[in-house]
Symmetry: C2
Subunit: 411 residues, 2 copies
């Protein structure tokens, strides 16, 4: 008699976006003439850069000819792309990596979801709260947590609260943790850590033989000096950190699917026999066994991101979204709202006024300004009372949205 | 202190293809003028069909325009592709499926590797022997097996021997099994099951509440009547079977990456509380949590496979490879070798003559005919004494290879 993985039953349903859709549909039905603008989506809207389009077309043509056709590629990704990644994203920051320390994939969601497979079930997991749900959910599914409690938190997981009180800087936990998920610039709060603040965690990991799983999907949005783009800018991180990067948010690849994960050969964890074992070898085994590589065509598109034209084009893209972020941030602040993020990230995180809860503010924003955002409580208990807006809309809609916030929202 | 997933250490290294490469390199060094032909690869060599190329180019152009640009798509795949799959691959065989029973992915390797995650660790796994290594290795990594024994078999796994003695028809096991991996047409043996032979397994699964994980990646190569293309042609299979299909081998997508998995809503397994739970819901949760969809561009390429031109073009591709298969099969038989497969599959499985073991035959083929194939022992203990050749080479090389087999191989 086949049995299911019982851990899946610990997960509550994914109600957040379904509930948003339900409330928006109801509002539209009752207000058919309202022009509802969505500032809630975490998805890009600008087309792919021209250099990427050219790269993709050229690769498609190669697949039409038997002399240039490509079948199975290396599961770890093609060397032509990995070399560009290292030379462009890492070497200029003083970070040296070997070709076989970078693994190209179909997306950071897959990688941050799958990475926990190479660790034992006995590891204690720490996540920030609020958080991108994939880190937590994949550990629940694997059986690395207890049940969901009344407080909205899973047993055995250490939640690192990030809120206005601690300036969104996760504090070291009192109990020892083994696997630490950190996403900077942060989704959903849009906040960042300085090098010194991140170093606290690297030092902790070195001291306790913990591993940091560092999601840097939004690093391209960093505008200020002194904010690390890679965790490997911190001394010692190459011994304790795995880094995730993506083409989704810098080059518009959310529907095109390409990312990469860096696993330095110096990052190690313990075997039952008490020996240190390189995680690079385990991740390589995982990927070669359960993954067959990213499409050649897509990897050629990603390679084009690193051409001089591509680098220029992604700057234009990021400037476009960051101009939106500035408008939203300043618009919210101008009516007296407490606003975070939006300086080094495409996410703006605001405190709902007058002690309102996240869903109450959702309804207020929808009914008064006909705007849709994402309730902060959807990202974890510590997100309660907060709200996320994103800079990924088009400029025209964003300006209109901010005008409505200024003129229609009663704070 | 972070600890590793200890189960990974149970896996032996992947020596098969590395050892092949080593022996070929050594031979070439000693025989620099030899023209070595490879008949060992399981990868296609013909370019993508023109209809697919056209579909890919059109989709790339859509990504260049903000009005047609696509960001995140449904993790389960686009409806336009799923509808074509159901209408073309299933409905004509009398199989009805709902849109949400088909999950598009980046490859069957990912899906057959990941599917075990939705089952409990206590399930007893059955695999055929010889076998495509991914079924076994992913269960080892998950902790569903014991250690590797002296006999080359993992503890707790039930091996279903398939050899000339039982005509490559897996026999029902004496001990009860919960998860049964069946690949038909088979890799590596190239053999198939009739509807009656497959029905034995469906009946077994229904009787014992087992689940059949049916890998049909090679179904397009079936030439004979009476061989099921889908397990759902067997009565009752929709209650007990998950089916994996791919565009890799019918349309040349090995480097382009698109596949799909069918999980009927009627397939259920037990919870700890003794209730039957739909696997469709679990797989949907797995995919929406740990996967972000197949690239839009690639799904448009796959859709083109279902156009009238695409259907014609993939027939031409399959006929090309199957003409190779016939030449190889007949060539081997003409010198008195025992040959299997190659009729409904691109794989030819031969018995090494005179009780030779697989590696000895490898060396013989390489030194006498300058040909490279794959030792059967690499696919499991029951593959010992067998050898795999593939029809995926180009026609010219295949003809030359068979000529050498006929004239140079001393049997």
């Amino acid at each position: 008699m086949a049995t299911i993985n019982e851990n899946y039953l610990k997960l509550p349903g994914s109600y957040l976006f379904a509930e948003i859709a339900r409330r928006v549909a109801k509002f539209k039905e009752e207000n058919p003439s309202a022009n509802v603008i969505r500032l809630g989506i975490g998805d890009v809207t600008r087309p792919l850069p021209q250099s990427v389009i050219t790269g993709l077309h050229a690769a498609v043509d190669e697949m039409a000819n038997e002399n240039t056709f490509r079948g199975y590629g290396p599961e770890q990704g093609y060397q032509f792309l990995i070399e560009k990644i290292i030379q462009t994203d890492y070497n200029p920051r003083g970070i040296q990596l070997d070709i076989d320390e970078v693994f190209v994939s179909d997306g950071s969601k897959s990688d941050v979801g799958n990475i926990q497979e190479i660790f034992g079930l006995e590891n204690r997991v720490a996540i920030t709260d609020p958080v991108y749900p994939v880190y937590l959910d994949t550990n629940v599914m694997a059986g690395r947590t207890g049940a969901l409690g009344q407080d909205g938190r899973f047993g055995s997981v250490v939640y690192l609260t990030c809120n206005a009180e601690n300036k969104f800087v996760p504090q070291l936990p009192s109990e020892k943790v083994d696997l630490i998920y950190i996403c900077m610039p942060n989704n959903p709060t849009g906040t960042t850590l300085t090098k010194d603040e991140l170093k606290v965690w690297v030092d902790y990991a070195k001291k306790h033989n913990s591993i940091i799983l560092y999601d840097a999907a939004y690093e391209a949005y960093i505008q200020e000096e002194g904010i690390p783009h890679s965790i490997y800018e911190i001394e010692g991180a190459k011994d304790v950190a795995i880094e995730f990067r993506s083409f989704s948010k810098n080059a518009g690849f959310t529907g095109t699917r390409c990312a990469f994960t860096v696993v330095p050969k110096t990052v190690k964890a313990l075997t039952a026999a008490g020996e240190l074992y390189p995680l690079n070898k385990l991740w390589n085994r995982r990927q070669t066994t359960k993954f067959n590589g990213t499409p050649y065509i897509i990897q050629k598109g990603a390679e084009a991101v690193y051409s001089p034209q591509g680098q220029q084009e992604i700057k234009v893209l990021i400037n476009y979204y960051m101009a939106n972020a500035k408008v939203i941030r300043e618009g919210l602040a101008s009516i007296g709202l407490e606003v975070y993020g939006g300086v080094n990230a495409p996410y703006i995180w605001l405190k709902a006024p007058n002690g309102m809860d996240s869903w109450a503010f959702f309804d207020k924003l929808l009914t008064e300004a006909h705007l849709v955002g994402t309730p902060g409580s959807g990202f974890g208990p510590a997100g309660q009372g907060y709200f996320r807006l994103t800079a990924f809309g088009n400029q025209e809609n964003t300006l209109e949205a901010v005008e409505r916030i200024k003129t229609r929202l009663k704070v």
